[in-house]
């Protein structure tokens, strides 16, 4: 605040000759997860922008090198923390690719189901938050209510609403609970109803459409060049979905469509996510029908999977198995692998290097929104300050994932 009891002379008043530099963030309600955008303005139009990330960098890749393979799950959860099961599944698949094992069918369906629930909650949050930042507070609250229903299911299954750490190399931590299928089948129509209600509020609203359409446009070639994947890439018209292009788990048995946009602006990104919620609901319905109710959850290899606790306390062999896996880690064969799945924001890649011991040598996380956010400065140059908000919001940059 300027001191008011100062001597002021006429000659000291100056109009600034330099363009105004404005700092958005990192502590800012619209900067999802601490991003700092330093913009240079001419009036309200942005002439230059510098997007600075790294405020949520927690050194995951360094910390992964200090534990065992199963100890990476809590880190992986906290990457894209609005859809943590997708990260869990992605990492499990990467290590299992190195081990050369496939989990039993029941586990595969379970992984797909929990992953799609996480994807729905991710898209609900993204769209709701974007609408809220434009001033539409109600759809945000309704989306959060729907998200709570999904989180109730996840809490029942995994024990936590957000940071589950539920995946394991070789299966899942626990089999599905008795009421899993019933809960999911009961929740899906309610979620769909909420989505419909939010859309009714937003999609015919002139202000909403004006703020989103033709704002933050990117062409197909640029998006591919920058490494965009996921709903943001599909909104430009490229029908690339890892679940279709390189099917994994049981996605090849499930019928679903891949929503593709045309213009690559904010509105298309918003609509891609809305449609994906519907498609995820479709996948979940099929999963609930197809998932076997009985059968093993984990693979049957004592070098990878922990034994039952009663056996650990009573027999020496199970104690040794538990000891070896927990203390020394799973001995993944030496080598390197790159494994990719469709996470909430796009292709989440894990590049793992193993030296044959139980400790990872290098665990590289390829965050989908890192590639998407690097384009932000190009998208907002030439736009006005208020356009930064929906553009940034529609990219769904999750700080945890971008900064790992």
């Amino acid at each position: 605040m300027e001191p008011l009891d100062q001597d002021l002379e006429e000659g000291e008043l100056e109009m600034p000759a330099d363009p105004m530099s404005l700092n958005l963030g990192p502590s800012h309600p619209a900067m999802h997860g601490t991003v700092r955008i330093v913009v240079e303005l001419s009036g309200e139009t942005i002439t230059k922008a510098d997007v600075q990330i790294g405020y949520l960098h927690r050194g995951f890749e360094k910390m992964c090198e200090r534990g065992t393979w199963n100890q990476i799950y809590p880190y992986v959860d906290r990457l894209n923390y609005v859809s943590p099961m997708l990260n869990n599944v992605g990492f499990s698949l990467a290590v299992e690719k190195m081990l050369g094992v496939t989990v039993p069918e029941r586990s595969q369906y379970y992984r797909v189901a929990l992953g799609e629930l996480a994807r729905i909650s991710d898209h609900l949050t993204c769209n709701g938050a974007m609408a809220m930042e434009l001033g539409a507070f109600t759809p945000f609250l309704w989306n959060i209510r729907a998200r709570e229903m999904i989180w109730d299911i996840l809490e029942e299954e995994t024990g936590a609403r957000l940071t589950h750490s539920f995946g394991r190399v070789g299966g899942m931590a626990m089999p599905p609970s008795k009421y899993f299928k019933d809960m999911v089948r009961a929740t899906l129509p309610r979620v769909l109803a909420v989505v419909l209600e939010s859309e009714q509020l937003l999609l015919k609203n002139r202000i909403f459409l004006d703020r989103l359409e033709n704002v933050g446009r990117i062409s197909k070639e640029d998006a591919l060049d920058f490494g965009w994947t996921g709903p943001c890439l599909r909104s430009t018209g490229v029908p690339y979905d890892v679940r279709r292009a390189h099917p994994y788990l049981v996605y090849d048995r499930l019928e679903f469509d891949v929503p593709v946009g045309s213009t690559g602006d904010n509105f298309d990104r918003f609509m891609c996510r809305e449609e994906e919620i519907r498609q995820s609901i479709r996948i979940l319905e099929q999963c609930m029908d197809q998932m076997p109710d009985e059968g093993p959850m984990n693979i049957d290899d004592p070098r990878v999977v922990l034994p039952e606790k009663e056996d650990v306390y009573t027999t020496i062999e199970a104690t040794i198995q538990h000891f070896k896996i927990v203390m020394e880690g799973i001995k993944v064969p030496a080598g390197e692998v790159y494994s990719y799945t469709e996470a909430g924001n796009g292709e989440l890649g894990f590049y793992l290097v193993s030296d044959g011991s139980g400790t990872p040598y290098r665990c590289r996380i390829r965050p989908p929104c890192f590639a998407i956010t690097q384009c932000l400065d190009k998208l907002i140059v030439g736009a006005m300050i208020p356009d930064v908000v929906p553009t940034f919001g529609s990219m769904n940059m999750i700080g945890g994932e971008c900064d790992h």
């Binding site: 009891d5 001597d7 002021l8 600075q52 360094k62 190195m98 060049d225 390197e336 590049y351 956010t373």
Partner: protein, 242 residues
């Protein structure tokens, strides 16, 4: 399917392809770092490869090797659907881990070929200290600019503590408030502040700041204000002329 890419590479750059393997199903080629840019451009432009989707660039540190860093790039082709991993081994045995000016380990940047490599290469620079020649804007991305060292190198201990950094000198940014600045409407009523020699001294030394106010918004001349205050304080100790 991706073997097509490896074959095309081998056909065109026979000498520069040092090793290939397909461990766990991922086709990989280890190439000569001097040909890094050429090979990348070939992969983008050649019709058999058509690698137009940039996926990832990262590095791995093998301190026991003479060429300690291995730069790893993953690419994908949208039309053909195949993927390839390209690796190059670079290193300088005399580089010091803590030296922030160390630019001895270098490789060409592929940002001119795929714009998406921009931030990924910045991250490799930030975490490992590898300099990318030709990068438009090579600075730290995840760490703050005053960070010392390169964290993901194997000889950087995970529990190392960084030195405290100086308050940044940014143009036109005022340092934190002095005792007489800010909350001026409240301060003036507190008697003890007027006599505080530190405050009086600070007021004398304060630089004249440029104020963006319309003439109508200017306050009354300071002399008037001082007279008002002096009247208040007359009974107590005499004031110094500021």
């Amino acid at each position: 399917m991706s073997i097509v890419v490896i074959d095309a590479l081998k056909q065109r750059f026979a000498g520069a392809i040092l090793e290939t393997h397909a461990q766990f199903g991922d086709d990989t080629a280890v190439v000569d770092p001097d040909k890094w840019f050429e090979i990348s451009r070939f992969l983008r432009t050649d019709s058999r490869c058509a690698m137009n989707m940039f996926v990832d660039i990262t590095a791995v540190d093998y301190p026991d090797r003479e060429q300690r860093f291995e730069i790893v790039m993953h690419l994908r082709s949208l039309e053909r659907g195949h993927r390839v991993r390209l690796k190059a081994r670079i290193g300088d045995p005399f580089g010091e881990a803590d030296d922030d000016d160390d630019d001895t380990v270098q490789i060409d940047s592929v940002t001119p070929i795929w714009q998406g490599a921009n931030w990924f290469e910045r991250e490799v620079f930030d975490m490992f200290g590898v300099v990318f020649r030709g990068h438009p804007d090579l600075r730290r991305i995840l760490m703050y600019p005053e960070f010392k060292g390169f964290p993901l190198r194997k000889d950087y201990p995970a529990n190392k503590i960084q030195p405290l950094i100086e308050f940044r000198k940014v143009q036109e940014k005022l340092p934190p408030f002095g005792p007489d600045e800010g909350m001026s409407f409240g301060r003036q009523t507190h008697e003890y502040h007027r006599d505080d020699p530190q405050m009086i001294e600070a007021r004398a030394k304060k630089p004249k700041s440029k104020v963006l106010l319309a003439p109508s918004q200017q306050k009354a001349p300071a002399s008037q204000q001082k007279a008002a205050v002096t009247q208040q304080k007359a009974p107590s100790t005499p004031q110094k002329e500021s």
